[in-house]
């Protein structure tokens, strides 16, 4: 790639979503969702339960097929891809962090095997190197190297979540989907995880789409925010602008309903 092409490539959105719509029979899952996500950006999606944020994330990550609209990743039409190509993307360039680490980890496989799986899936065939990378990534998410052969079932909730993140990031993905990654964790563990995720986003230049109902989490983590209600995006913008100067009545209600500590 020439320098010019590189510059052009970095000056376009990593993910381009247009008119994304998914219904469940007569019910709206999400409707007409349009946004661009740029390299290195964290996009928060907030809304109450049933607002369509999880449906949207599932459509983006390829777990659900939208009825209408388009998704372009790095210029490639995601919905036109074959399943092989899409799943290949899902274990190389993309990552998905589940709310419950049990959904994103293999509980019967050691921590090292969990982290190494994505490497082996893309053809790594040297045990020593795979193990070395697994240990390095565990260190990065602050799990001691001597736990490499322990199963995740022996880990605390916070450690499991960090292991899930390590498992996802080991192949250096560019786009990470996160579904309530701090839900169900103690607040002290939450803070640690938020700090870790901020550092990873900054150091690796990750683009992230994070779904949460926790406005404090998005304020600290997301550059931009989308507010969803009844399947529609009612407002989007800079995170602090949307939270401090909300324009839509629903956002105003949401922001004013947060309990202060």
């Amino acid at each position: 790639m020439t320098l010019m092409e590189t510059m052009v490539a970095t000056d376009r959105p990593l993910l381009k979503v247009e008119g994304l719509t998914k219904g469940y029979g007569p019910r709206i899952g999400c409707a007409g969702v349009t946004f661009d996500l740029w390299p290195g950006e964290v996009l928060g999606i907030v809304g109450e339960s049933g607002s369509g944020k999880s449906t949207l994330l599932s459509c983006l990550a390829g777990h659900l097929r939208p009825d209408l609209g388009s998704i372009h990743y790095d210029g490639r039409d995601v919905l036109a891809m074959g399943e092989t190509e899409r799943r290949c993307l899902g274990r190389t360039d993309w990552a998905y962090v589940h709310q419950n680490p049990r959904d994103g980890l293999r509980m019967g496989v050691s921590a090292g095997g969990n982290v190494g799986e994505r490497l082996m899936a893309i053809g790594a065939r040297h045990y020593g190197e795979i193990r070395g990378k697994a240990v390095a990534w565990m260190d990065r998410v602050e799990i001691a190297a001597d736990r490499v052969d322990d199963r995740p079932s022996a880990f605390s909730g916070g450690m499991q979540q960090r292991l899930q993140i390590a498992r996802n990031l080991v192949t250096s993905p560019r786009l990470v989907f996160m579904d309530e990654p701090t839900g169900g964790l103690d607040v002290s563990v939450q803070a640690r995880l938020l700090d870790l995720m901020r550092g990873l986003v900054r150091d690796l230049g990750l683009s992230v789409v994070i779904v949460t109902h926790d406005l404090a989490v998005v304020r600290l983590l997301a550059h931009r925010l989308m507010v969803m209600k009844s399947g529609h995006v009612v407002e989007q913008g800079l995170t602090d602008q949307v939270l401090d100067d909300p324009q839509h009545s629903y956002t105003q209600l949401l922001v004013s309903s947060v309990l202060q500590v």
Binding site: G116, M120, A121, Y127
Partner: protein
Amino acid sequence: MTDQAYNFAYLDEQTKRMIRRAILKGIAVPGYQVPFASREMPMPYGWGTGGVQVTAACLVPEDRLKVIDQGADDTTNAVSIRKFFQRTAGVEVTEATAAATLIQTRHRIPETPLTRGQILVYQVPIPEPLRFLEPRETETRKMHELEEYGLMHVKLYEDIARHGQIATSYDYPVKVEGRYVMAPSPIPKFDNPKLSGNPAIQLFGAGREQRIYALPPYTSAVSLDFDDHPFQASKAPHHCDLCGAKNSYLDEVITDDHGGRMFVCSDTDYCAGRRAAGQKGRLWSPEPQEAAP
């Protein structure tokens, strides 16, 4: 009288036809698990119902059948299946590998190299090599479809992490012609190299799981491994105490209560053939004695 009571080789012709179609499909797509409508057989699951159905579908009156279990012709399972086909198909039987046209086996590949025209039928308990780590059938099918076999190496990784080496010693997974990963049934990994490039037709039948798969003659089957932990076809580091064979798979036999033991070929036909040709092992005498204390 009994041979009048059954159709040739027990199964009705429509069932054979269905099974033969599955076999042909299996041969056409080496290593791919073909679903088939497994029938109730007059023996329990786990006793080789899959292998028996494949054998029944392949047998013709001119065949000479050999049945082995763990390499031996004289174990209960082998004897009962052999008798079953003697009664229901009236085919000739033999214990000599070289003389057999069709061999049904559980847990071994004969030591005597197979030749063109022979058929080797394996009894398979669990046909899905990915089952160990992925319990969902829908997901394992998808993984085969998309060649997502990273999980197989996770299994081997776990082995090394836990035991310092690949501890899987039987049913060791192979990749067939660079495409499908296949469970070779619980044969010792010592036998894995014989799977590959074999001139015989190798058929695999799983009765309970209702799957048939196959290796056509001269098909490559590569045992999975790591660059720094290469596959090794291991066996007990001994010679056969009866025939002296250096390179055959051995069973360990405890001979007394004082720690006495002997190693003998698990392939009884091979061992007997060597002894008949005058080969001698450590403990062999024309009338084999118990090992001395």
